[in-house]
Symmetry: C2
Amino acid sequence: MSNQTELRCIHCARTYRADAVEYFCPVCGHNNGILDVLYDYDAAKAELTREQLAANPDRSIWRYLPLLPVNDASLLPRLQVGCTPIYDAPRLASELGVARCWVKDEGRNSTASFKDRASAVGVVKALEQKAATIACASTGNAASSLAGFAAAAGIAAVIFVPAHAPPAKVAQLLVYGAQVFSVDGTYDEAWELCMEASAEFGWYNRNCAINPYLVEGKKTVSLELAEQFLALTPGSFADWVVVSVGDGCTIAGLWKGLREMHLLGILPRLPRILGVQAEGCNPFEIAWRGNGELVPCAARTLADSIAVGHPRNFRKGMNAVIESGGAFVSVADEEILASIPLLAQRAGVFGEPAGVAGMAGVRRAVERGLIHRSESVAIVMTGNGLKDIKSAMRSAGEAIPIGPTLEELRRGLHLEPAISTRAVATH
Amino acid sequence: MSNQTELRCIHCARTYRADAVEYFCPVCGHNNGILDVLYDYDAAKAELTREQLAANPDRSIWRYLPLLPVNDASLLPRLQVGCTPIYDAPRLASELGVARCWVKDEGRNSTASFKDRASAVGVVKALEQKAATIACASTGNAASSLAGFAAAAGIAAVIFVPAHAPPAKVAQLLVYGAQVFSVDGTYDEAWELCMEASAEFGWYNRNCAINPYLVEGKKTVSLELAEQFLALTPGSFADWVVVSVGDGCTIAGLWKGLREMHLLGILPRLPRILGVQAEGCNPFEIAWRGNGELVPCAARTLADSIAVGHPRNFRKGMNAVIESGGAFVSVADEEILASIPLLAQRAGVFGEPAGVAGMAGVRRAVERGLIHRSESVAIVMTGNGLKDIKSAMRSAGEAIPIGPTLEELRRGLHLEPAISTRAVATH
């Protein structure tokens, strides 16, 4: 059984029994009253020890059940999620100007993004409530992961995507059999429609900002990071953990997981968190550099997964950076594009624009003196590059056409390489 | 150190020391003289036991080092490869008309295809020979996986692709920094050019059919299958293992791995092998139903990864089916397309056309009475659906466009679902 105790509103601090509320604090409403899941950490600590972890053959996020809000373990989905690889990337570290650099490849999840961690938990919660349908609004990855996990669990998924979502992501969720509505409007409008429709039709709402359980899935990336560093650098941890930021849910989950592993004595010390946004859509950075208050803005960036002008989990996301003594930076779309081949060529990891944005932000943070050259960084690469081939092709140039002869090849070999990081960076 | 002993020509049975030949039997030439890697199985058996496997924390193909041709373990690539999940898929089993069905999702590898297993070994062999460049000709997946593993290892990759290769696959390998030549010709012409160029410029040749070590990487899928079934159904195994067939190397590796695990006593009994081809490109099936001799044919199928009219590893591939008492079948492109949403919706696994072709072949084999309804099948799904979004979109229909209002949604909900397996199958 779960060690979950209550839900606490992050705005007014009222606490609720899990069965007393549906998603958010009824007093503060869905814009402010985001709930946080509380646990009996003494009980969790007894169950989740280094020894227990080392002996556990489960290679998925469910190895962390003592810290997850799951009441009925018989409902866990079949699809494997989590336990993604982490790579020590020395060539990338020298490129970025840091002492050491690790890359955690979240593109290796079931539907090829970090969001699978949240969807896996969301589908379990929907099944626990005997919901026949689960819904979400998403720019893509949350949707495709929901569609995949709903298909594996055999429940219906209804998904609202903004009309500008990339075709690859939409195709993926259609293939999984979700009913997909392409909303002629912004992400924010698709989001509000999903809220209304879920209430109207009794669907379980997977939207991460209002549903308190999704962040619990997301935090598993940090539970893993803490455990993986036990093997990588025993007794030590990265100075910074880096992730791109859209809604604020991912960075919030990341921070919560780190705090929990610290509390359980598995993580030796807490790192700082670097949140990275796109220059064309950086409400977190603006608020962090200003008075800390959210001013929704336009969303102009090719990194669609973080193109969120009105972050729904602003407070939790902001707290992650403030509490950790971290920072927000933002990067230009050209820097994001140039980071795709750079990460692939230095670390062997192919990421989508929002996935590599974190890496681009490290360089920016080093330039600004926020990250010192003597420090180490762990970058969470959130989505597979195959999710956005158009951006990959823009970043990488084209093949050299030749006829099928050695003579033509010889001529081709004398051409400039089709690809080089330099060539991309100056495009 | 490796338990590899010698190399044996599958045509004339001459044996060679590993350092005495480069790729193929010098007597029989590269069209016939494919070599097979031999091992000291007594030594391997002592090192690779159920107990040793259970205690080994390595979650990659390198857990099977006693059965791999690696001389210098310090050269193993950083990218994680193998240990892909396998799913029991009861809803798919009833759809296909078999007693039980498992799906092994090879799209979860580093560069999202089965080919990573071969490329990982290929790059190690290139490094052992101190090669500065590694080359291959590929319709896509072998190339992108080579590019990824070469990037991670820091050596140069030169890749020849036929001009019709899907843009997503080409983008992936360009991003990894390979020098890519788009050959105006067939796959066969690209293959021959790679052979010539490797000899001319001293590049290490990763082409699977002539390089004996690549099949060794591929066989790891079966080493894993055998080990995974120890947990799934102790003392038992699937009646059939199913895979799509192009060059013949994958099915050859699959069969070799199964035989080895049987020899080591880890696999209780040998299954039959079902090789699945596309109707527009089925030289194996034609030969198997006829006199057993290869007649190269045209390659007309949207499943580009198995569009090989002149299979270079014909003999090894054919042996897998004959020795196992298995079968070859072929399926129409429409069946392949319809299998994409079927697999995704029944098992939660999104595959590319060649990846799902195996599943389509199961239904065909059941119809033909080759597979009995009382039998079980393990399907190796060889590549991620994100590799070929164009085919995915053809298979899955489109999102329903609506305005951002409940009224428009209500109207949309009354429309036929955008997707259903039935709708796809009748396209």
